[in-house]
Symmetry: D3
């Protein structure tokens, strides 16, 4: 149950701003599937447009790191933020982009290890080494 | 200022368990530099040994994703956990492993975008699409 | 499924401390509806009494900012803490206090933007400007 | 100490993309002061441009809620994310936009109360009331 | 719905590494019940083995604080990390180790109070007193 | 640098509400030392009074768990919330209440392990076992 209603394809087709974004999502992702995240944002066309513009720019334009690596980082951030929806959607996206079981296993290793050492560094309030300075 | 004292090289050399870990860190990382994280953990030899064993296994043994990608994920988790020390130490580690300014820029893009969409998905309590199921 | 049982009206009526709090919630909120949060806290009368006293004081007594603004801040904190229940209950409360779709949209904008810039400021460990000092 | 260098006015003036953003920040905020957040982002012109575009849109264009309310929500999110820099910069911004000591006091009350009830709702895993549904 | 499949007893019995861990869990906990956490980790035998080794060492070997106190701390951390699964599993574990309703009530009090004062200390960016130094 | 000024003893002595709280803190804790947390809250007498009332009730009245255990839980929550000030103040408090190096070491073990398993349970979105139900 969401805190807003989820737009159907019929409702989206009747609103020019929402329709334009949904059309572009389908074109860029080469798939007819529109997941619930976008159906919820359709209630706020401003947020929908800006969020999709950012996702399109950051996750779909050529760059470095490669698209799969970006999904792995995305999962790491989403798990740390305890975002149920995002963990699901980006794990599915990573698999669609070729994540192997071995890569998933090592991703989990890194997330668990970082969470482990983050908590120790914070519990001990370790001072930053001057050797890390970029100046 | 840490919540525990930081061990000097002299103190570490006098404790066999701490000395063994510090020696191994130096050998594996091919560097004489021992950063404050390990100097703080030296007060708790059990935690020191187990934490280094995990770091050595996850971050230094061959695997997939590659070592630089693992550092990028580590930075993503550490920033999300607001771990000052870890952000510094793993940004330095990523640079040492070849992170370019372009990669750093896109890493920041992904962290910022994930934080943005995580907060929206949680604020809207978006239900997980059944299409994401692995069953 | 909660980690404790949820008290029914019959059970609450039979416990003087719980009954007193539930009666006061109904009187202050001018509604017969007692949501699950209070039915769960009923297992711990001390926590129930102190928590309701704080909610009554902070959210129902006259003050500045106004009650709707307080709900918007509450939603911002709750989403950031990834509190499913609180996001739902306070979004409902904000609507009951007059939150318009436009205000909801801009609230989401602020939450998303703050999450975005928070993650950048932490990932970059930006030093606080001396101009921000209150001294 | 940041994980990147902070750009001086001289360095910013020599880079057309950075200069354009800094000029616009000064014009929109009607102040010559450029805080460290932007000086750090100058290393990543893409991130700088997109972040400023979002801040300008969300925080400086007319809307509802009003600008001060948006700053209060921003502080709530930033404190919950434990973002040292953002708490400082947005508390300063809220004061510049007229936040009174009374409003600051009640803001702290709401942040503390939300954190208190968030932790209880999560520790008790309270199920969402069907009454909160928007359907 | 998990992001991976959950292993049945039949599947676990057919994989020597998974079987060895499941057998040890049953022996150490003196119970035939294997909860979903381990059934999910079975997909990643490396993570499964290392995680169980840590849980066995930290939570089942004799030490100080006592096992129930460790569960209370575990619940505190898990609630703060908004980990639904962990809050449930460790509340059940604490009850199995003798947590009384009074202890549960006071645990909730401490979690709520710590969350309350944490948010204030961060929102006010209070400088650490030199009296707290261990040097 | 705090976002508010820290009250001196002279300033506190001149404000009856602040003086009453500071006097009570000194009496209950049997120490003349007033740490910066209370000196910052003095700017908001309402928040000061309610926060001290909660701390006094939860942390200083007889109960179960014992006072040291409560401090250990407090440290676990504070580290997870990345609250620098609170980690320092409650580690100092735990030492004052008798925390041994061995207890500190095992506390760190539990915090690190919980952070490790929390991140895995969230990254895998493990469904809660029906066996954990209290009904």
């Amino acid at each position: 149950m969401a805190t807003v209603k989820l737009w159907t394809d019929e409702q989206a087709a009747a609103d020019p701003r929402v329709k334009a974004v949904f059309d572009d999502i389908r074109a860029v992702r080469k798939s007819d599937f529109i997941n619930n995240f976008w159906r919820a944002l359709a209630n706020q066309p401003d947020v929908l447009e800006r969020t999709w513009a950012s996702v399109r720019k950051v996750m779909f334009e050529p760059g470095a790191p490669d698209p799969l690596t970006k999904e792995l980082i995305y999962i790491g951030v989403s798990a740390t933020n305890a975002c149920t929806y995002c963990v699901h959607s980006h794990t599915a996206a990573a698999r669609a982009k070729g994540m192997t079981p071995q890569q998933h296993s090592e991703l989990l290793d890194v997330i668990a290890l970082a969470s482990h050492t983050n908590s120790l560094a914070t519990a001990l309030q370790i001072p930053v080494d001057t050797e890390f300075s970029v100046e």
